[in-house]
Symmetry: C2
Subunit: 557 residues, 2 copies
């Protein structure tokens, strides 16, 4: 057994200790919150801080598990005694994650319902010693040097040949077509131009999550997330707003239709979505609801031959250019029904290029849109939408008459896809920022030499490479779970983790650029702005942590 | 002895333990780096990660000291047994800071030269127990509720009557004049308009750090930083770019002239600087030097009656509108002289409003400027400057013939003022973001009630109030030290600490706003962008930590 094996074995053992403490705390919170046969949401709200921290602990523990898998796979292929870069990265990640978990639990054990005995394993010299051994300055400095030598790469991707081929083509497209346009699209707040949409449509990227029999690229038998993930990652490396987010809407739309649509609806719409014509948009969020989907109020009233939509939606990305909107609306006015009063509709509309539009129906309905100016994530344009007596025919109620009242579930099915896809977007943004950080650290001089030769910069680069590489493997791992019909909760975990990590990484990449990092002409400043949206959209981090992750963990503990 | 006294006494005792570990590590690093009689910079660079962390530990320990002072002052004035908000805030701060210090040192004790025995006091149950007791969810939630009730305030300022009066007038000005203009100035990238400059000039804000005998507002006998700090804080609350940074340049300029100028130069220039006419700018940074001032290359060549300046400066804020530039230049080509080859010059120029300018001298010299577009901190405009045979008369060599070769020292004297002033700017930005976070938490609903009623939001607001309030007292405390001619190194500490804290606080304020936090029309999005510059300019955090703070601590250990 060599050094790497020993380290990984120790990490696995300490991870079990960490996991035991997390599970114990979840069980304790569950006991505090159980009223009769169920867990009370109100009681659970009294434990929000602990729940938030536990979601993070669980996400990092899960990330650690994928880091260990990664190291094992690389280790199995390795000859001889030299510890590979990937194994070192995995060990640094494990050390940081285990340390973070311990520090969080120690900060307020009473809020977690944990006593000294529960934390004894985390307080034992072996646990701390493992973390310390892999977080030592000298080790990180050496890792940083090896990372620089890779010139922006950071460890094997371990993809299938097919996924690698897709990666290659989309990486080229991102580098050659997207990157040169990204700055202008951001600074002039332009909408994504045809120069980008054209080749993406040709390459089939809107059909990545759509089964072949509906005109898409994935197998008919089971989900295949790897293609979607890899393509998203490469496009987001080119630009989050100008390319990396284009697949999100078809992703959510197709999952919702596959889950809830009638066969007729699938046959009609999925091939169109797959072909990128029309482009689509998702209208779920409302000004007063945010991530609380069950509170949606936009009204759907039955009329002759269809439904009339009235109300307001917001943050509807791509709504101007899109020709097809997926709209979640309240089809039953009985407010006691909560999310069971919601249905999902498909609205066809004209396509507009501008920041404002007005779509008038022959029936008299009017949909007006106003793009909300944002600090980043430009290129897509997110709209506030006003529905005034907008008509949708019966055929466009998702699921047909059976689908009435099931809109919430179809939305959630779509959103799980949005989350894993967002993790892939976060990785792409990180990869772009990381590449710039590595190259600029070689160019920029301070105190007589390139800053990339200083220990502090080397440590920053080593940590960036570590968090990026494991975030990627974490995303791939969850994608593979989802291929098997599992991993819904893990999709939220990896979204939570990678998005916050992207904020940190882009911040450090700016810092490496010094003053120029703050200039609009320097792309890291744009990556920083783009990264900031990630923890807000597709489920704000607070909602994901409290209402999805910890809630699911508590239910299953 | 009541509860607060006991808590504060415990905090003071644990702070001593933390301080002892920090000092021990500093002494160890010093031993590792001592070659002959001095500390070797090269050797010190081998300990950058530990040095960076130690600078943070020392800054937080110093902040804790000021937090304790604050609680004692408030406690002394208090009647009866109720623990005041300020004391609770101080205790939460101490707990977080002590926990952070311990976690940093524990992460890699070997890199700090610390053994188990050195860390025993930090590992003792009392130390951890103190932190846990004050970081409990219930306590933070209760603090959050009390903070909300204050509606954007967060604990007594403890200012003199005079400073309070200044605070009142400038707060009114910021609210009534600056805030209504701030969004347009940012979104249209305008230069600060006369509507803001006019009243500020009238109120004497450019002369806050200039002695009365030179036309300023401060006493002739000693520095008086409190006025400058309080005014800066209030203006930065209005807007960092459109008001809060106006004083930085007169602050640096006047300190440099008071330190290095001849009596004649002071008499000529200080009254003009104090009157805001001309506005001034500081040209130190160069494209290849960043925070490494000693590497400045802009060439000053002696000529008949003066000097000729040739070269490039960058990030020269306000250079277009300014009529007077303070320029650091290499007056002696012998590169072995390092920072002893630098001199400081005053360059008079015309004032320009635009993003580009060209200033032609009758002697033939040309100074051209190009404003660098930035993601935030707009309103000031930071320029890249090209000096082509620009002439300055002998009278404008700061310090006269004696001043030749002393430009580095005069610059550093100016920069210490820039740092405490930047801490005040960070507080102002935090105050603005905090107010918006508190008010929006009452407006925005999720899951059936205002988000400000949820524990997680309450904890966020409690932590914001804590870090903001103690940052303020830390800044005031260092300002008072500087009034006595001390606190140069502490000015770097408080700059380091408050600027990073402002990044965190504005990020959380955005998060409380949900999607709207990312919209340009919402002011927290601007606060977030503005806050991001703070850790980059006026000494990047890496340079301050390594080259100023830890270096000074090691020299004095």
């Amino acid at each position: 057994m060599n050094e790497a094996h020993r380290g990984l074995q120790a990490a696995a053992q300490h991870l079990e200790s960490a996991q035991a403490a997390i599970s114990k705390s979840l069980a304790w919170i569950k006991r505090q919150c159980t009223v009769g046969k169920g867990v009370s949401n109100e009681k659970l709200d009294e434990h929000q801080l602990a729940s938030f921290d536990l979601a993070w602990c669980a996400a990092e523990a899960t990330g650690t598990r994928f880091a260990l898998d990664y190291a094992r796979k690389v280790g199995a292929a390795r000859q001889g005694g030299v510890v590979s870069l990937e194994e070192r990265i995995a060990l640094v990640f494990c050390a940081e994650a285990l340390q973070n978990i311990r520090n969080r639990l120690w900060a307020r054990p009473q809020s977690f319902g944990l006593g000294d005995a529960d934390l004894a394993a985390l307080a034992a010299p072996g646990y701390g010693g493992f973390c310390q051994a892999h977080l030592d300055a000298a080790g990180l400095e050496a890792l940083g040097k090896d990372v620089i030598a890779l010139n922006g790469a950071s460890g094997a991707y371990l993809l299938s040949d097919e996924a690698t081929m897709m990666q290659d083509s989309f990486r080229r497209l991102a580098t050659d077509v997207v990157m040169p346009l990204a700055e202008a699209i951001h600074r002039e707040d332009r909408i994504i131009p045809q120069e980008i949409l054209g080749p993406l449509t040709e390459m089939g990227c809107f059909g990545l999550s759509i089964p072949e029999r509906f005109g898409g690229l994935r197998s008919d038998e089971h989900e295949d997330n790897m293609g979607m993930i890899v393509v998203t990652e490469e496009l987001a490396r080119g630009s989050l707003g100008a390319a990396g987010s284009l697949i999100t809407r078809p992703e959510i739309m197709s999952r919702a239709l596959l889950k809830g649509g009638t066969e007729e609806q699938r046959q009609k719409w999925l091939p169109e979505v797959a072909s990128g014509d029309p482009l689509c948009a998702i209208a779920v969020t409302e000004p007063d609801t945010g991530s609380d989907v069950s509170a949606v109020r936009l009204k759907a009233t039955k009329c002759e031959g269809g439904w009339i939509l009235d109300g307001v939606k917001t943050w509807c990305t791509m709504a101007g250019k899109a020709g097809l909107l997926l709209v979640l609306a309240r089809s039953n006015p009985d407010s006691s029904l909560g999310h069971r009063g919601l249905s999902m509709f498909l609205l066809e509309k004209d396509s507009y290029e501008g920041h404002d539009f007005e779509f008038r129906q022959p029936q008299g309905g009017v949909l007006t849109g106003r793009a909300i100016a944002t600090i980043g994530y430009r290129g897509m344009h997110s709209y506030e939408l006003f529905f005034d007596q907008v008509f949708v025919p019966d055929a466009n109620l998702v699921g047909g008459p059976e689908g009435e009242g099931k809109g919430f579930y179809f939305t959630m099915a779509g959103f799980a896809g949005g989350r894993i896809q967002t993790a892939a977007r976060a990785i792409g943004v990180m990869q772009a920022a990381f590449e710039k950080a590595v190259s600029y650290s070689q160019e920029r001089k301070a105190f007589g030499k390139p800053i990339g030769e200083f220990q502090l910069t080397l440590v920053k680069l080593a940590r960036m490479a570590t968090l990026l590489t494991v975030s990627r493997q974490f995303t791939y791992g969850v994608g593979r779970l989802m291929d098997k019909g599992e991993g819904q909760m893990e999709a939220s975990m990896v979204k939570l983790f990678t998005c916050r990590t992207a904020e940190w990484l882009t911040r450090e990449a700016m810092q490496i650029h010094g003053g120029m990092g703050y200039a609009e002409e320097t792309s890291v400043s744009r990556y920083f702005l783009d990264a900031r949206v990630l923890s807000i959209f597709e489920g704000a981090e607070e909602t994901l942590a409290l209402k999805v992750i910890t809630r699911s963990l508590i239910d299953s503990v």
